[in-house]
């Protein structure tokens, strides 16, 4: 039984590390898109995706380190990402983020 647990542990660890590597690569590729991105909406989508990848990265690191302390961090990145995406979308659509008077 304990053998099984041990092998599971090492399997989880290996999988997490592989995932971390691939996510890091995809973040790098997204960064390329952010810099090159022919249009601004491309950049916005790429930035959004970078954020999602970051959340995944933090989650995987939390698995690796076997801690629950990083859960708040995932939530935090998610919230900031949400607000950032709204701001970007509004900027691209309207050219202004905070309107003076909407009504």
């Amino acid at each position: 039984m304990s053998d099984l647990v041990k092998s599971m542990d090492s399997a989880v660890e290996t999988v997490s590390i592989i995932c971390i590597v691939f996510i890091s690569i995809s973040i790098l590729m997204l960064l390329y898109r952010v810099i090159i991105g022919p249009t601004n909406p491309d950049r916005a989508v790429a930035l959004d995706t970078i954020g999602i990848n970051l959340m995944a990265l933090v989650g995987l690191i939390a698995i690796l380190l076997e801690t629950t302390r990083l859960n708040d961090v995932v939530l935090l990145i998610g919230i900031l990402l949400f607000i950032g995406t709204i701001a970007l979308a509004k900027f691209l659509e309207k050219g202004v983020i905070i309107d003076r008077d909407l009504d």
Partner: protein, 141 residues
């Protein structure tokens, strides 16, 4: 052209802004012995307020929250500084803190520390600074 509207944004904002306020208070209180604290709590609060600004516009939110954010900065700094020099007056080293266990209604017995007051100062300062910066940029046409 059809008049644009932010119906989805507005509906979600009413919900999410309050979740954010709750989360920011959680982070603020968690800061004593876990990740969190005044800084990140303040940042979350300003994120919530920013979300409201984005959904409802400058004029409406200024009516709902008539707070002078510039004034929050010195108030927050004063609280932080007073709690940190409080220990000097009773002969303890600067920034020293004390704590006790209190029986609170509903919550039960909780640890309360004077470091929390210091964090409150940090919280107010962060809210003040970040919203001052954001609103200054937003006002600039």
């Amino acid at each position: 052209m059809i008049k644009e509207n932010d119906l989805i944004l507005r509906t979600t904002t009413t919900l999410i802004a309050f979740i954010l306020f709750g989360f920011s208070i959680y982070l603020f209180l968690a800061g004593h012995s876990a990740p969190g604290g005044g800084f990140i709590g303040g940042l979350m609060t300003s994120a919530a307020i920013l979300l409201m600004y984005m959904a409802y516009g400058l004029k409406a939110v200024s009516k709902i929250l008539p707070i002078n954010y510039q004034l929050l900065i010195p108030i927050g700094l004063t609280i932080a500084l007073l709690t940190s020099i409080g220990s000097v007056f009773i002969g303890e080293p600067f920034l020293n803190q004390t704590f006790g266990y209190f029986d609170l209604p509903i919550l039960g017995e909780k640890e309360l520390a004077t470091a929390l007051l210091f964090d409150l100062g940090v919280y107010l300062t962060v809210v003040g600074v970040s919203l001052t910066i954001i609103l200054t940029i937003a006002n600039d046409q």
